[in-house]
């Protein structure tokens, strides 16, 4: 049946958006399915154009069966396109969400160790392997775009810091859960973060390290 594959694609995509909390790893890019949908659409396209050519204008207005056939094929093709784009845009949304969650750290986002460290027992694919090459390009492009945009603000505030809740306290108690080495904080202070140690620091200075999972709020 025309459109079955596309339906499969969007239902899978819809299912993956249903549980965003806690955030599941992004499902792998459904390349085989997408290729077969594209193939189906191309076949529909050729079938439509050959039918139109062979029968010509006259029969198109008389032969109602042919008209019906062409309409169905046409609609199926358009529907396929719509499903494909819906799938892609849902994924783009997911990719962007992850970018923001990671505080705009592209290298951190794509490093293979990230997802392994966070959930070692799950055999979830890390983000890099879940994305298609095109999506990787998009992510890189988006990263550049946002860097450009936020550079206007950077001397006063960091746009990519979290906005989940308004800041309540200036200082924050943190525990180091992953070695981060020596970090130079705002104001020239040098702090050596070793696993297991606890610090009391200004929230704005260590926000990024918390987001990236080096530190944990106590």
């Amino acid at each position: 049946m025309y459109g079955d594959l596309a339906l499969q694609l969007v239902t899978a995509s819809h299912r993956s958006t249903l549980s965003t909390t806690p955030q599941l790893p992004l499902p792998k890019y459904a390349l085989p399915l997408i290729l077969s949908i594209c193939l189906e659409t191309r076949q529909l396209g050729t079938s439509i154009s050959t039918a139109a050519e062979t029968h010509g204008q006259v029969s198109l207005s008389q032969d109602r069966g042919l008209v019906c056939n062409l309409t169905v094929q046409h609609l199926a093709a358009r529907r396929n396109k719509r499903c494909l784009l819906a799938y892609l845009s849902t994924r783009v949304g997911g990719v962007k969400e992850r970018w923001w969650d990671a505080g705009g750290g592209l290298a951190y986002l794509l490093s293979p160790s990230t997802s392994v460290a966070v959930n070692p027992d799950l055999d979830a694919p890390d983000l890099r392997s879940a994305l298609s090459p095109q999506e990787l390009d998009f992510l890189r492009g988006y990263n550049n775009l946002m860097l450009d945009y936020k550079s206007d603000f950077l001397d006063v505030l960091d746009l990519t810091a979290g906005i989940e809740k308004p800041p309540g306290e200036l200082m924050v108690d943190v525990r180091v859960i992953k070695d981060a080495g020596e970090v130079i904080l705002e104001g020239g202070e040098r702090v050596e973060f070793r696993k297991g140690e606890r610090f009391r620091l200004a929230r704005s200075q260590v926000e990024r390290l918390i987001v990236q999972g080096f530190l944990e709020e106590v």
């Binding site: 594209c38 659409t41 396109k81 892609l88 095109q134 999506e135 206007d152 006063v156 906005i163 306290e169």
Partner: protein, 316 residues
């Protein structure tokens, strides 16, 4: 004048009072040094950007008053433990009757709007931006003003922090100032990101509609253009290129009239508070509803967008 006397008038949080009680014996000695603290604070602010005069004059700490010049803000930052904002839109009680004084009241209210300090206004436009899903005007002047003040304040705080003469209590005050700064930054950040989200969502619509370009800042507009381009390249490379040629467009309209270009849905309901009398609107079913001053309504955005953009109605 004792250092803490003016603070007590401001009815600060119990914590600060306890601090006061604990150190009351020291308060006298600090009192002597407090005026020099204020002098130093003032001397670090090079230009006097704020024309307002303070009712408490020299009594108040300039550091906390110069930018956030409402007393409530100092309280808000002092009672941070309650962790909620001090700038919810203020509802004046509905003054009833007296149609004759209406004009005066309106003028008064407008003046009030103008005199409202930047942080309050920032809070209001932040709520407005988040409460609607249409593209709102970019408040560039306000943001620039806030940034200037933030930068200035930061300089001041850094100078005072590194000054060995700054006493323990003064450090505590500086902390309050810094907390308040972080909160303002949060507001701006959230505002900008809400806008970015909308802009990315409607990027194609924005690019194709020159009539709304004036609502965006230059950076936002170029972001919208480049984002649209990026997104389309992505779609093109991913699937569209392998489809038949007549299916490769990005701005088609489907048979059911659904366009591929996402537009803001103006039928979304908004919750508004009428600052002024907004006349009557005709609802969907032909019913009419009066938007009297001081009332709150939940209506479709399309019906009241004029009043919102004029500032006569405030989004909650």
């Amino acid at each position: 004048m004792s250092f803490f006397d003016d603070e007590a008038e401001d009815s600060l949080s119990p914590e600060l009072r306890s601090v006061r009680g604990a150190s009351s014996s020291r308060a006298q000695s600090i009192g002597a040094s407090s005026s020099s603290f204020l002098d130093r604070l003032r001397s670090t602010v090079s230009p006097d950007t704020d024309p307002h005069s303070y009712p408490h004059g020299a009594d108040r700490s300039r550091a906390s008053a110069s930018i956030f010049d409402t007393e409530s803000n100092l309280e808000a930052s002092a009672s941070t433990s309650t962790s909620h904002f001090g700038f919810t839109p203020n509802h004046q009680p509905d003054e009833e009757g007296d149609q004759g004084e209406d004009v005066e009241l309106l003028e008064e209210e407008l003046r009030e709007m103008e005199e409202m300090d930047d942080v309050k206004r920032m809070g209001m436009i932040w709520v407005k931006e988040r409460g609607t899903n249409d593209i709102m005007g970019w408040e560039g002047d306000l943001i620039d003003g806030l940034f200037d003040k933030l930068e200035q304040q930061q300089k001041m705080v850094t100078t005072l922090r590194s000054d060995p003469q700054t006493s323990e209590e003064e450090h505590f005050k500086l902390m309050l100032v810094q907390t308040e700064m972080e909160r303002v930054k949060y507001l701006v950040r959230s505002y900008v990101r809400t806008r970015l989200h909308k802009i990315e969502k409607y990027s194609q619509y924005i690019t194709l509609t020159p009539s709304i370009h004036h609502l965006l800042s230059g950076a936002e507009l170029s972001h919208a253009r480049r984002y649209t381009e990026l997104l389309h390249t992505h779609y093109q490379h991913s699937v569209l290129d392998s489809l038949p040629e007549w299916l490769r467009k990005m701005d088609d309209t489907y048979g059911d009239g659904l366009s591929m270009v996402t537009k803001p849905n103006k039928n979304m309901p908004v919750l508004i508070y009428c600052r002024r009398d907004c006349g009557e609107i005709t609802l969907e079913g032909g019913e009419r509803a009066a938007l009297a001053r001081g009332t709150t309504h939940l209506v479709k955005y399309r019906l009241v967008d004029r009043w919102i953009s004029l500032g006569w109605a405030e989004v909650l």
